[in-house]
Subunit: 449 residues, 2 copies
């Protein structure tokens, strides 16, 4: 029997997970991972926490060390660029670190090219010195700038990465100003009411947040020396672009592998692209939202590993389906955790879904138990079906697993009436008698009755 040749382009969350899944199913396949990066198998999501100093060194983020690739007999080719995919001949042309072109054949190809920071077409955006945070090297640059004495930073964009990085720099002693075009922070995660809670906390921690401010121009000679935002000139020692990321699709486009309407690579439930034997996973791949049934490219680490696993299993001979996303996401900023799953009120409006919303403020332990922290739960319920379709939680602790609980509830089409009667656990040191999620359901019911 011929050995299966598998090529995977990309070697972080999605790519390595895919490789591991192939190997579990197929002990003999030749599996080659090709990546432009020097360091592979690391956790991007950990980068802000190295900048903050909580994690001592960037290299600690490497969750798949070289030994892992050896153990699974994965042929890892770092600092190697995949330049052409020939989907008819089933080959990938790569450029080795020494600049030599080489053509490797595949039976199955998995594209895990990820995403990269996006800079809108702002005047002067070509100027040097604008930092971003996507790779270990980016992290090193930001860390070096802080060590070189930077005292202040302007962050363009109040999304997850912008705020996590802002919090990290404040912990390092910098004055941080975040500039956001929209009228709220975390627009992808939260509705404006919940975002306001987070904003108030960040303000208490001395993060300066300017909303409704559009970055119009990057000023300076060759190098950035200021930015102009809605007419105002802002200066700092560091300038960081955190506008968001865009799927890395150039290779796919050049190879006539179709994109979807989100401009990420179109995939089906098996993580196959529209080209035979070519899969796409992770931040470069489009998928489907469980609630809206619309295409989406959520660019989250959990989604990347889940997709990588499905593609890898299928390449290895299984028949596994990816079941879509709820875009469950979580972070910790200073003393609060912020989580979301399903859709927001705002997204519901855009999709013409009529909702009833319940919000409750409660505590994370029995009210009389020392160090009980505040927690606020917002539930979004579809009016007609009375099903839970979204949740947002901001609290001092224990937010993550509540998001997971509500994610399970949404995936299993739990109604708000069922949640209001759910069996939950209780002990004074770890939660309240009436679970806040249940109380939020009760708030919705008061409007439904």
């Amino acid at each position: 029997m011929m050995l299966q040749k598998i090529v995977i382009i990309g070697a972080n969350a999605a790519g390595v997970e895919a490789a591991s899944a192939v190997r579990k199913k197929d002990r003999t396949a030749e599996i080659t991972l090709v990546t432009r990066e020097k360091t592979v198998g690391y956790s991007r999501c950990g980068l802000p926490f190295v900048i903050s100093g909580v994690i001592p060194q960037l290299k600690e983020l490497i969750v798949y060390p070289p030994a892992y690739f050896q153990m699974l007999k994965l042929n890892l080719r770092t600092q190697t660029t995949a330049s052409v995919i020939n989907t008819k001949e089933k080959t990938v042309t790569i450029q080795t670190p020494r600049g030599v072109n080489e053509t490797i054949a595949y039976d199955k190809l998995i594209i895990a090219t990820g995403a990269e920071p996006f800079m809108p077409p702002i005047k002067g955006r070509e100027k040097l010195g604008i930092l971003s945070l996507r790779s270990i090297e980016d992290g090193e640059k930001i860390d070096a700038a802080v060590k070189a004495g930077a005292k202040s930073a302007i962050i363009m964009g109040a999304g997850l990465i912008g705020l996590e990085l802002g919090a990290a720099l404040i912990k390092r002693g910098l004055q941080v100003t975040v500039v956001e075009m929209l009228p709220q922070i975390l627009p992808q995660l939260l509705d404006v009411d919940m975002a306001k809670l987070v904003q108030d906390h960040l303000k208490q921690k001395d993060m300066k947040i300017l909303l409704n401010k559009t970055v119009e121009e990057i000023l300076g000679e060759d190098k950035v020396s200021a930015i102009k935002a809605s007419g105002e000139i802002l200066t700092a020692d560091m300038y960081i672009s955190a506008f968001g990321v865009r799927a890395n699709t150039k290779l796919a486009v050049d190879s006539d592998i179709p994109l979807g309407e989100t401009h990420a690579i179109k995939t089906n439930a098996y993580m196959e692209t529209e080209v035979k034997d070519v899969y796409a996973v992770g931040d470069c791949a489009e998928t489907t939202h469980i609630i809206t049934h619309r295409p989406i490219c959520p660019q989250l680490g959990t989604v990347a590993v889940r997709q990588g696993k499905v593609a890898g299993m299928n390449v290895g001979g299984a028949n596994s389906q990816f079941t879509g996303v709820l875009v469950s996401a979580i972070t910790r900023l200073f003393d609060i955790e912020i989580g979301t799953t399903g859709i927001s009120e705002a997204v519901a409006v855009k999709n013409n879904i009529q909702t009833v919303v319940g919000i409750i403020s409660s505590k994370t332990k029995a009210d009389y138990y020392p160090s009980a922290k505040s927690i606020k739960v917002k539930l979004i319920v579809e009016k007609e079906s009375e099903r839970i379709i979204g949740a947002q939680i901001v609290g001092g602790e224990e937010v993550t697993q509540r998001i997971n609980a509500l994610s399970f509830a949404i995936q299993k089409q739990m109604t708000v009436r069922e949640l209001a009667k759910a069996d939950t656990a209780y002990a004074p040191p770890v939660c309240e008698t009436w679970e806040p999620m249940v109380l939020a359901a009760e708030m919705v019911l008061m409007k439904l009755r």
Copy 2:
């Protein structure tokens, strides 16, 4: 219109919740709560944490102060014993604090008489000086004994209360020995494998645990001076009975209100007893297990308030059903949290349910994130339907809401395949990329495939 007369016997979790629910539905009803206790509306579950010193004073456990009863216009009669229920005349005979008998009429009666510590028929059990922990007064006695200089304690029973109290006394500096008849601790909550984990932790914290030891005799003159357990004589400065609690059903039995097979008061989904216009809720009431469909009396605070609410709403004119229990329970002992929901492997065997089990050890944060703690998740899956029917978790943090998440999953009949593909949230400071619950599902699938 005649005002509805509601009598509630018992004024803690279940009773007060019931009274509140009636009042929300019926602004004019005359609501009378009758209780033998002096202090009412307090959290029993908080008692061990006052003993440990975490909560400074017993009175802080009062979650419903007198003002609450006034606000809701509840007629509260403390230190008052309900001695006879006449279900034909629809009256309750009570004895006031002054010893006067009084008969009060009801249109609807709610029995929330709770439970009380159970002492098996051990020789010498009538001897004085054996303590237990159920009421504020019990807490005061234990606290007084510690303050009087007790240096050691023997706790009979390794259930939740026994171990919580044992941990509390160790924190107060006492040497604690727990004597348990069964070959494991926490037999109601955990299978033997997970119980062993907890036992190891307790041992590290200097709790001495003697398993397979039956208390055969209480020794001493009038007052306990030693116990004999499986032939061994054990002595300490304090002796605590923590064999468990039994439903307080004397009043019901005397009034011909039928009990169920668990010897608690039989109820239907509306929390009605078999006698018209008489309801029973909380630790004295029998209910139905969601998985086994068998009668059960779980005696948990969450169940008490949920049942109280259903009964109260129905008395107030609603048509609310109690949906059964999964016996979700949680506690914290020293540095670990212990949680359970659904049924254990042992209960599955008893009910002839064939299961497949998955166990995984993981971390509560990204592996590289400082202070990540260990967590172990055990999933119990019904083989035929592949549905999750039980879970047990022991970990350093973030156990409670995972129990709630799995409780939701069980209630919504999630299969282990669905859990293995569930959308979960991830960020390095709060969880791992692959959620441990999902990994446990994967372990089950490896056995099912």
